[in-house]
Protein backbone atom coordinates (compact mmCIF):
# COMPACT_ATOMS: atom_id res chain seq x y z
CA UNK A 1 0.00 0.00 0.00
CA UNK A 2 2.65 2.65 0.89
CA UNK A 3 4.19 1.96 -2.54
CA UNK A 4 1.01 2.86 -4.38
CA UNK A 5 0.40 5.98 -2.26
CA UNK A 6 3.61 7.74 -3.27
CA UNK A 7 2.74 8.35 -6.96
CA UNK A 8 -0.73 9.56 -6.02
CA UNK A 9 0.76 11.99 -3.49
CA UNK A 10 3.20 13.29 -6.11
CA UNK A 11 0.41 13.74 -8.66
CA UNK A 12 -1.75 15.59 -6.12
CA UNK A 13 1.16 17.86 -5.16
CA UNK A 14 1.92 18.47 -8.82
CA UNK A 15 -1.71 19.31 -9.59
CA UNK A 16 -1.87 21.66 -6.61
CA UNK A 17 1.36 23.42 -7.58
CA UNK A 18 0.18 23.79 -11.19
CA UNK A 19 -3.10 25.30 -9.96
CA UNK A 20 -1.35 27.63 -7.53
CA UNK A 21 1.18 28.82 -10.14
CA UNK A 22 -1.23 28.96 -13.08
CA UNK A 23 -3.98 30.93 -11.33
CA UNK A 24 -2.05 34.21 -10.85
CA UNK A 25 -0.68 33.95 -14.41
CA UNK A 26 -4.18 33.50 -15.77
CA UNK A 27 -5.47 36.36 -13.60
CA UNK A 28 -2.64 38.58 -14.88
CA UNK A 29 -3.44 37.61 -18.46
CA UNK A 30 -7.13 38.36 -18.01
CA UNK A 31 -6.42 41.68 -16.29
CA UNK A 32 -4.02 42.66 -19.10
CA UNK A 33 -6.55 41.63 -21.79
CA UNK A 34 -9.29 43.64 -20.07
CA UNK A 35 -6.99 46.68 -19.71
CA UNK A 36 -5.98 46.49 -23.39
CA UNK A 37 -9.59 46.18 -24.52
CA UNK A 38 -10.59 49.06 -22.24
CA UNK A 39 -7.72 51.23 -23.53
CA UNK A 40 -8.86 50.52 -27.11
CA UNK A 41 -12.43 51.51 -26.30
CA UNK A 42 -11.20 54.69 -24.61
CA UNK A 43 -9.14 55.57 -27.70
CA UNK A 44 -12.14 54.95 -29.98
CA UNK A 45 -14.39 57.13 -27.79
CA UNK A 46 -11.77 59.88 -27.59
CA UNK A 47 -11.29 59.70 -31.36
CA UNK A 48 -15.04 60.27 -31.79
CA UNK A 49 -14.86 63.27 -29.42
CA UNK A 50 -11.90 64.65 -31.41
CA UNK A 51 -13.82 64.10 -34.67
CA UNK A 52 -16.76 66.10 -33.27
CA UNK A 53 -14.40 68.94 -32.29
CA UNK A 54 -12.84 68.77 -35.75
CA UNK A 55 -16.28 68.94 -37.39
CA UNK A 56 -16.98 72.07 -35.33
CA UNK A 57 -13.92 73.64 -36.95
CA UNK A 58 -11.56 73.36 -33.96
CA UNK A 59 -7.82 72.87 -34.34
CA UNK A 60 -7.34 69.35 -32.98
CA UNK A 61 -3.56 69.08 -33.43
CA UNK A 62 -2.92 68.85 -29.67
CA UNK A 63 -5.74 66.30 -29.28
CA UNK A 64 -4.32 64.11 -32.06
CA UNK A 65 -0.85 64.28 -30.46
CA UNK A 66 -2.26 63.12 -27.13
CA UNK A 67 -4.23 60.35 -28.83
CA UNK A 68 -1.13 59.17 -30.67
CA UNK A 69 0.81 59.01 -27.40
CA UNK A 70 -1.96 56.79 -26.02
CA UNK A 71 -1.93 54.73 -29.24
CA UNK A 72 1.81 54.21 -28.99
CA UNK A 73 1.43 52.95 -25.41
CA UNK A 74 -1.40 50.66 -26.55
CA UNK A 75 0.81 49.20 -29.32
CA UNK A 76 3.52 48.53 -26.74
CA UNK A 77 0.95 46.96 -24.40
CA UNK A 78 -0.24 44.65 -27.17
CA UNK A 79 3.37 43.72 -27.95
CA UNK A 80 4.04 42.93 -24.29
CA UNK A 81 0.86 40.84 -24.19
CA UNK A 82 1.98 38.86 -27.26
CA UNK A 83 5.32 38.27 -25.52
CA UNK A 84 3.40 36.92 -22.48
CA UNK A 85 4.65 39.82 -20.33
CA UNK A 86 1.23 40.44 -18.83
CA UNK A 87 2.41 42.71 -16.01
CA UNK A 88 4.04 45.09 -18.51
CA UNK A 89 0.99 44.84 -20.79
CA UNK A 90 -1.31 45.80 -17.91
CA UNK A 91 0.97 48.67 -16.89
CA UNK A 92 1.25 50.06 -20.44
CA UNK A 93 -2.48 49.70 -21.15
CA UNK A 94 -3.26 51.53 -17.89
CA UNK A 95 -0.77 54.28 -18.82
CA UNK A 96 -2.47 54.54 -22.22
CA UNK A 97 -5.85 55.03 -20.57
CA UNK A 98 -4.46 57.49 -18.01
CA UNK A 99 -2.99 59.58 -20.83
CA UNK A 100 -6.57 60.18 -21.98
CA UNK A 101 -7.92 61.39 -18.65
CA UNK A 102 -9.90 64.62 -19.18
CA UNK A 103 -9.53 64.16 -22.95
CA UNK A 104 -13.27 64.22 -23.68
CA UNK A 105 -13.63 67.38 -21.58
CA UNK A 106 -10.86 69.11 -23.53
CA UNK A 107 -12.36 67.96 -26.81
CA UNK A 108 -15.78 69.29 -25.80
CA UNK A 109 -14.28 72.67 -24.83
CA UNK A 110 -12.54 72.87 -28.22
CA UNK A 111 -15.79 71.84 -29.88
CA UNK A 112 -17.71 74.63 -28.15
CA UNK A 113 -15.04 77.18 -29.09
CA UNK A 114 -15.08 75.89 -32.66
CA UNK A 115 -18.86 76.14 -32.84
CA UNK A 116 -18.77 79.72 -31.54
CA UNK A 117 -16.09 80.63 -34.08
CA UNK A 118 -18.09 78.97 -36.86
CA UNK A 119 -21.21 80.93 -35.87
CA UNK A 120 -19.20 84.15 -35.84
CA UNK A 121 -17.73 83.34 -39.26
CA UNK A 122 -21.21 82.50 -40.55
CA UNK A 123 -22.50 85.86 -39.35
CA UNK A 124 -19.63 87.76 -40.96
CA UNK A 125 -19.31 85.76 -44.17
CA UNK A 126 -22.84 84.72 -45.06
CA UNK A 127 -25.19 87.12 -43.31
CA UNK A 128 -22.80 90.09 -43.57
CA UNK A 129 -22.00 89.63 -47.23
CA UNK A 130 -25.65 88.92 -48.18
CA UNK A 131 -26.81 92.07 -46.37
CA UNK A 132 -23.90 93.96 -47.99
CA UNK A 133 -24.89 92.75 -51.46
CA UNK A 134 -28.49 93.92 -50.93
CA UNK A 135 -27.17 97.26 -49.64
CA UNK A 136 -25.12 97.67 -52.84
CA UNK A 137 -28.21 96.89 -54.99
CA UNK A 138 -30.35 99.37 -53.02
CA UNK A 139 -27.57 102.00 -53.24
CA UNK A 140 -27.36 101.41 -56.99
CA UNK A 141 -31.11 101.82 -57.29
CA UNK A 142 -30.95 105.05 -55.20
CA UNK A 143 -28.15 106.43 -57.41
CA UNK A 144 -30.21 105.55 -60.48
CA UNK A 145 -33.26 107.38 -59.06
CA UNK A 146 -31.09 110.39 -58.24
CA UNK A 147 -29.52 110.45 -61.69
CA UNK A 148 -32.87 109.99 -63.37
CA UNK A 149 -34.43 112.78 -61.33
CA UNK A 150 -31.54 115.15 -62.12
CA UNK A 151 -31.67 114.24 -65.79
CA UNK A 152 -35.44 114.82 -65.95
CA UNK A 153 -35.13 118.13 -64.06
CA UNK A 154 -32.34 119.30 -66.40
CA UNK A 155 -34.43 118.25 -69.44
CA UNK A 156 -37.48 120.06 -68.04
CA UNK A 157 -35.45 123.27 -67.43
CA UNK A 158 -34.04 123.16 -70.97
Amino acid sequence: MPRSKTPITIVVILLLSVTVVASPVRADQEAAAVAISSAKNTIVNCCSAAAEAEAAGADITSLVDTLNEACSLLSRAELAYTANDFAAALNLATQSQNRLNNFVGEANTLKENGTQQQNQEFLINVVGSTVGAFAVIIAGFAVWRFLKKNYETEAHVK
Binding site: A50, E54, A55, E78, L79, T82, A83, G140, F141
Partner: protein, 172 residues
Amino acid sequence: MNLQGYKVLLVFVTIILSLFVASPALQRLLVYPQTEFFTEMWLLNSEHTADGYPYDITLNQNYTVFLGASNHLGHCAYYAVQMKFRTENQSAPNPLTHSPSSLPPLYTLNVIVADEETWESSVTFSFDYSHDVNNSRVNFNQMMFNGAPLNLTGYSAPWDSEKSRFFGNLIF
Protein backbone atom coordinates in the same frame (compact mmCIF):
# COMPACT_ATOMS: atom_id res chain seq x y z
CA MET B 1 -23.56 110.24 -71.90
CA ASN B 2 -27.36 109.90 -72.12
CA LEU B 3 -29.65 108.41 -69.47
CA GLN B 4 -29.65 104.98 -71.14
CA GLY B 5 -25.84 104.96 -71.06
CA TYR B 6 -25.84 105.79 -67.34
CA LYS B 7 -28.39 103.06 -66.74
CA VAL B 8 -26.28 100.35 -68.40
CA LEU B 9 -23.13 101.56 -66.59
CA LEU B 10 -24.93 101.69 -63.24
CA VAL B 11 -26.49 98.23 -63.64
CA PHE B 12 -23.09 96.80 -64.64
CA VAL B 13 -21.26 98.43 -61.70
CA THR B 14 -24.00 97.40 -59.23
CA ILE B 15 -23.94 93.76 -60.38
CA ILE B 16 -20.13 93.54 -60.21
CA LEU B 17 -19.99 95.25 -56.81
CA SER B 18 -22.81 93.17 -55.31
CA LEU B 19 -21.22 89.94 -56.57
CA PHE B 20 -17.93 91.01 -55.04
CA VAL B 21 -19.57 91.81 -51.69
CA ALA B 22 -21.61 88.57 -51.78
CA SER B 23 -18.60 86.40 -52.71
CA PRO B 24 -18.05 85.00 -49.15
CA ALA B 25 -21.66 83.76 -49.10
CA LEU B 26 -21.53 82.54 -52.70
CA GLN B 27 -18.30 80.68 -51.96
CA ARG B 28 -20.18 78.45 -49.53
CA LEU B 29 -22.88 77.68 -52.06
CA LEU B 30 -20.68 77.20 -55.12
CA VAL B 31 -17.90 75.08 -53.60
CA TYR B 32 -18.87 71.48 -54.24
CA PRO B 33 -18.88 69.34 -51.10
CA GLN B 34 -16.41 66.45 -50.95
CA THR B 35 -18.15 63.35 -52.28
CA GLU B 36 -15.37 60.74 -52.22
CA PHE B 37 -14.16 59.63 -48.83
CA PHE B 38 -11.11 57.41 -48.76
CA THR B 39 -7.80 56.63 -47.13
CA GLU B 40 -4.52 56.48 -49.02
CA MET B 41 -2.08 53.93 -47.68
CA TRP B 42 1.41 53.23 -48.91
CA LEU B 43 4.45 51.13 -48.35
CA LEU B 44 7.65 52.54 -49.83
CA ASN B 45 11.24 51.37 -49.82
CA SER B 46 14.08 53.16 -48.04
CA GLU B 47 14.46 55.50 -51.04
CA HIS B 48 10.78 56.46 -50.76
CA THR B 49 9.87 54.77 -54.04
CA ALA B 50 7.34 52.02 -54.72
CA ASP B 51 9.82 49.45 -56.03
CA GLY B 52 12.89 47.54 -54.90
CA TYR B 53 11.39 46.38 -51.63
CA PRO B 54 13.67 44.24 -49.42
CA TYR B 55 13.69 40.83 -51.10
CA ASP B 56 16.90 38.92 -50.41
CA ILE B 57 17.17 38.94 -46.64
CA THR B 58 20.46 38.47 -44.83
CA LEU B 59 20.76 37.31 -41.23
CA ASN B 60 20.39 40.18 -38.72
CA GLN B 61 20.69 42.83 -41.46
CA ASN B 62 18.49 45.91 -40.93
CA TYR B 63 16.00 46.83 -43.66
CA THR B 64 13.87 49.95 -43.73
CA VAL B 65 10.53 50.63 -45.39
CA PHE B 66 8.12 53.53 -44.98
CA LEU B 67 4.53 52.97 -44.03
CA GLY B 68 2.09 55.84 -44.45
CA ALA B 69 -1.55 56.82 -44.50
CA SER B 70 -3.35 59.92 -45.66
CA ASN B 71 -6.81 60.54 -44.31
CA HIS B 72 -9.51 61.82 -46.71
CA LEU B 73 -12.48 60.47 -44.76
CA GLY B 74 -13.81 63.87 -43.75
CA HIS B 75 -13.08 63.31 -40.06
CA CYS B 76 -10.19 62.17 -37.90
CA ALA B 77 -9.79 58.42 -37.98
CA TYR B 78 -8.28 55.60 -35.95
CA TYR B 79 -6.09 53.21 -37.91
CA ALA B 80 -4.69 49.92 -36.64
CA VAL B 81 -2.04 48.59 -39.02
CA GLN B 82 -1.26 44.97 -38.29
CA MET B 83 2.07 43.45 -39.19
CA LYS B 84 2.16 39.72 -39.89
CA PHE B 85 4.79 37.31 -41.07
CA ARG B 86 4.04 34.13 -42.98
CA THR B 87 6.00 31.36 -44.56
CA GLU B 88 4.89 29.61 -47.72
CA ASN B 89 2.69 27.01 -46.03
CA GLN B 90 0.84 29.50 -43.82
CA SER B 91 -2.35 31.49 -44.35
CA ALA B 92 -2.02 34.27 -46.91
CA PRO B 93 -4.22 37.32 -47.52
CA ASN B 94 -6.64 36.89 -50.41
CA PRO B 95 -6.85 39.97 -52.66
CA LEU B 96 -9.91 38.56 -54.47
CA THR B 97 -12.04 38.21 -51.37
CA HIS B 98 -10.30 41.09 -49.54
CA SER B 99 -9.70 38.76 -46.63
CA PRO B 100 -6.59 39.06 -44.46
CA SER B 101 -4.27 36.27 -43.40
CA SER B 102 -5.70 34.38 -40.44
CA LEU B 103 -2.33 34.49 -38.68
CA PRO B 104 -2.16 36.51 -35.46
CA PRO B 105 -0.52 39.93 -35.84
CA LEU B 106 3.04 40.17 -34.56
CA TYR B 107 2.68 43.89 -34.02
CA THR B 108 -0.11 46.43 -34.32
CA LEU B 109 0.63 50.05 -35.10
CA ASN B 110 -2.18 52.14 -33.64
CA VAL B 111 -2.37 55.65 -35.01
CA ILE B 112 -4.82 58.55 -35.21
CA VAL B 113 -4.78 60.77 -38.30
CA ALA B 114 -6.75 64.02 -38.50
CA ASP B 115 -8.80 64.79 -41.62
CA GLU B 116 -6.66 65.76 -44.65
CA GLU B 117 -3.54 64.95 -42.65
CA THR B 118 -0.80 62.46 -43.43
CA TRP B 119 1.03 60.05 -41.17
CA GLU B 120 4.19 58.23 -42.11
CA SER B 121 6.51 56.06 -40.09
CA SER B 122 9.76 54.33 -40.92
CA VAL B 123 9.79 50.63 -40.15
CA THR B 124 13.16 48.98 -39.57
CA PHE B 125 13.29 45.23 -39.28
CA SER B 126 15.75 42.36 -39.27
CA PHE B 127 15.45 38.60 -39.01
CA ASP B 128 17.32 36.14 -36.88
CA TYR B 129 17.10 32.61 -38.24
CA SER B 130 19.01 29.38 -38.47
CA HIS B 131 19.44 27.08 -41.43
CA ASP B 132 18.48 23.48 -40.81
CA VAL B 133 20.56 21.84 -43.54
CA ASN B 134 19.33 18.32 -42.83
CA ASN B 135 15.66 19.20 -43.28
CA SER B 136 16.22 21.93 -45.91
CA ARG B 137 14.43 24.51 -43.82
CA VAL B 138 15.06 27.90 -42.35
CA ASN B 139 13.83 28.21 -38.78
CA PHE B 140 13.05 31.76 -37.74
CA ASN B 141 13.94 32.64 -34.16
CA GLN B 142 13.25 36.31 -33.75
CA MET B 143 12.49 39.45 -35.65
CA MET B 144 13.51 42.95 -34.60
CA PHE B 145 10.79 45.46 -35.45
CA ASN B 146 11.71 49.10 -34.79
CA GLY B 147 13.98 47.87 -32.01
CA ALA B 148 11.36 45.62 -30.42
CA PRO B 149 12.07 41.87 -30.40
CA LEU B 150 9.25 39.73 -31.80
CA ASN B 151 9.23 36.01 -31.19
CA LEU B 152 9.14 33.96 -34.39
CA THR B 153 9.53 30.54 -32.80
CA GLY B 154 7.52 28.05 -34.80
CA TYR B 155 7.89 29.95 -38.07
CA SER B 156 9.75 27.68 -40.44
CA ALA B 157 10.24 28.12 -44.20
CA PRO B 158 10.78 25.05 -46.35
CA TRP B 159 13.06 25.15 -49.38
CA ASP B 160 11.13 26.31 -52.45
CA SER B 161 12.64 24.32 -55.29
CA GLU B 162 10.76 26.33 -57.97
CA LYS B 163 12.06 29.69 -56.81
CA SER B 164 15.29 28.23 -55.42
CA ARG B 165 14.96 30.02 -52.11
CA PHE B 166 13.39 29.95 -48.68
CA PHE B 167 10.28 32.06 -48.86
CA GLY B 168 8.50 34.26 -46.33
CA ASN B 169 6.24 37.32 -46.55
CA LEU B 170 6.08 40.32 -44.30
CA ILE B 171 2.50 41.57 -44.50
CA PHE B 172 1.08 44.95 -43.44
